[in-house]
């Protein structure tokens, strides 16, 4: 049996080879900086608020990770957020007074998300449409449907939603519990071998067929999971804003893909992980805070956001290259 210390040493040694290493370093750097320049950044109140605002991107990035690992891409998540948002809000309004108001609205929202994911999955598997362009197509469709359900921002959501969503239990915010629960679910999927099989589809689809995996089913499921996570993100947005907005998700498709890429997941599919996507999403969110507290203008915030993603990905590419050659070198020495 290994001692705890040994296990820890081993872990820290393997750390530079983890896909999320780079985003972790950036994150730690940002946190330290914020400790110095961010006034009261680490107050419980501020952190709770921040985390709540990060939540939708974290969730969408998690969902996007499934799709990308399986060799796909989902550009439709942005409109899907909007669609789930307005469906939930409309149901809340029309069921006002009914005892089942809340569960029905939430379940319907999630149902819409999963169904949309299923449609995306069908398009890219059985109909063999290219993921990028077909999810662009569904992005337009979901967006149109969202506008049909609700023409413009508005609608009333019981304020209790916000109260619950922003509440804390034992000092820990509700959103953290929600995320923890979902991560437990992701962990379950990892342990059932689902994630591994999905990676096989994304990594070498011929090899996946050769191993008699149900390739199409796995890929459809990945899109459904993405839809599921997107719908939860939408519901979080409803709770935060307490109103409906048919344009609420715009930009989330690209931001989530950036987060996934920053987290070290290969956009070609097959390699990467969920922890990375979470770190990547937080990095994206923190850039603005760092620039803000550094006293630079809002224009610099935007510039830095773009540049940091580019630099991080460029560095990430170099890092992987180095790691591979180091691994090969190590072997040669052994032999």
């Amino acid at each position: 049996m290994k001692s705890k210390k040994e296990t820890f040493l081993q872990f820290s040694k393997s750390l530079p080879r983890k896909p999320y290493f780079l985003s972790m370093i950036i994150l730690i750097f940002f946190f330290i900086m914020l400790g110095f320049i961010g006034r009261n950044y680490y107050s419980a109140y501020n952190l709770t608020t921040k985390f709540r605002l990060w939540m939708p991107l974290l969730l969408v990035a998690l969902g996007q990770t499934f799709v990308i690992l399986g060799g796909g891409l989902d550009m439709s998540v942005s409109s899907l957020l909007a669609l789930v948002n307005v469906v939930t809000v409309r149901l809340l309004m029309s069921l006002s007074g009914s005892p089942f108001q809340v569960p029905i609205a939430i379940l319907a929202g999630i149902g819409v998300g999963i169904t949309a994911g299923f449609v995306n999955g069908l398009l890219v598997t059985y109909l063999r449409l290219p993921p990028l362009i077909s999810t662009y197509g569904t992005q337009i469709v979901w967006g149109g449907l969202a506008l049909r359900v609700l023409h413009q921002s508005g609608g009333e959501v019981p304020f209790s939603w916000y109260t619950v969503y922003s509440s804390t239990f034992l000092g820990i915010p509700f959103s953290v519990y929600l995320l923890a629960l979902l991560l437990l679910g992701v962990y379950y999927l990892k342990r059932t071998g689902f994630v591994t099989q999905l990676k096989a589809c994304g990594g070498n689809i011929h090899g996946a067929y050769e191993s008699v995996l149900p390739v199409n089913k796995l890929r459809i499921q990945s899109y459904m999971l993405c839809g599921f996570f997107a719908s939860l993100a939408a519901i979080c947005i409803v709770a935060e804003t307490v109103t409906g907005n048919p344009l609420s998700g715009s930009g989330y498709e690209l931001e989530s893909i950036s987060a996934v890429a920053l987290g070290g997941t290969s956009l070609a599919g097959g390699a990467g992980g969920f922890l990375g996507s979470i770190l990547g999403a937080i990095v994206l969110k923190l850039i603005n805070d760092v620039i803000f507290f550094a006293g630079l203008g809002v224009n610099y915030q935007v510039l830095a956001q773009g540049l940091i993603i580019i630099l991080a990905l460029a560095a990430g590419g170099q890092l992987t290259k180095q790691n591979t050659s180091r691994a090969q070198l190590k072997r040669r020495k052994k032999v």
């Binding site: 990028l132 362009i133 197509g137 337009i140 469709v141 890429a261 224009n299 956001q305």
Partner: protein, 325 residues
């Protein structure tokens, strides 16, 4: 007997040719549109639709080159390049006709260089084109904000407006520019080494390298061209709008340029497609939009129909090859 079956086969083959399908759809929409609302297919209206389509068509030209070049090529920063072109053009020319050439040069140089950054990131640092160009569009919006500094941008000079909207033989100047551009791209793809190399690279990266194509260099250049073409389009767009009304004026071009390229029959895998197809694709998209407006379908339903039709078109000829075994 044999002859007629041959003709039949040709017709059937024609219906598998994306350009033919797109053209056929254009006529179909014009026909139905004219039945539903007489005057829809009138010369004046068609010209109006063509003018709107021309800007999409120009931007799609750059997108077309990148997608043709293969390697999952894609430029999601074209929309911002359009805005940047309009803004640099406005700032440099200061509404003066005499500074128009200078402004055009400034636009070309700036957007070409920024486009090259995209290319270097994609080829030398192996950043996936999707994320690279998307991050670039964030950088460009920052640059735009630095340039404008929150203050308005001077609009187009008289001459520029005249070039774009002034009519010769009833046809506005921008359409002549578009036609010239199309002829140029057609020549480029069919009679120059550049075109042959580009198509080869898009079809088979490795074989192209073995045939003597400097793949990385060529691909980097493509991103420069795409940026530059979008920038020039933005400059021309300024002449059409006569003023920069807001700094997201080019954003809509990003998505629509990709769609126009695909609807025009260019394969996202690279190496297959014609600019004529792309131009027809751009026209078809605009026509569809106008048609849906004409038959008074409200915006949300329009969007749903637009997206669905798009998926159907892609289903008809944009499918991937069967993978299994």
């Amino acid at each position: 007997m044999k002859n007629s079956s041959l003709t039949l086969r040709k017709v059937r083959l024609g219906f598998r040719n994306p350009t033919v399908i797109a053209l056929f759809l254009c006529f179909l929409i014009l026909l139905i549109g004219n039945l539903v609302s007489p005057g829809f297919a009138s010369f004046g209206l068609i010209v109006n639709i063509l003018v709107v389509a021309s800007f999409v068509g120009l931007v799609s030209g750059g997108q077309f080159l990148i997608i043709l070049g293969g390697g999952n090529g894609l430029d999601l920063s074209v929309g911002r390049f359009v805005t940047l072109g309009a803004i640099i053009g406005g700032v440099v020319s200061q509404k003066q006709d005499s500074k128009l050439i200078l402004a055009l040069l400034a636009v070309m140089v700036a957007t070409f260089l920024l486009g090259l950054v995209n290319g270097v990131g994609v080829t030398h640092f192996r950043i996936p084109p999707l994320v690279m160009t998307m991050s670039m569009s964030i950088v460009i919006i920052a640059i735009i904000r630095f340039i404008t500094g929150g203050i308005g941008v001077p609009g187009a000079s008289k001459l520029l407006q005249k070039i774009i909207t002034g009519k010769v033989l009833g046809i506005p100047g921008i359409l002549y520019i578009w036609i010239l551009f199309a002829v140029f791209l057609h020549y480029l793809m069919n009679n120059t080494t550049f075109g042959v190399k580009l198509m080869a690279m898009g079809t088979n990266d490795y074989a192209a390298r073995l045939a003597g194509v400097k793949v990385k260099r060529l691909r980097t250049l493509l991103y420069g061209f795409s940026g530059m073409i979008a920038g020039i389009t933005g400059f021309l767009y300024l002449g059409y709008l006569s003023s920069v009304y807001n700094i997201s004026l080019g954003d809509k071009f990003t998505l629509i340029s990709v769609i126009a390229v695909v609807v025009g029959g260019t394969s996202l895998g690279g190496g297959k497609g014609t600019y004529i197809g792309v131009a027809i694709g751009a026209f078809l998209l605009q026509l569809m939009e106008s048609f849906l407006v004409t038959i008074r379908i409200d915006q949300s339903m329009r969007q749903v129909l637009f997206g669905t039709i798009l998926l159907v078109i892609i289903f008809m000829y944009g499918r991937e090859q069967k993978m299994q075994n």
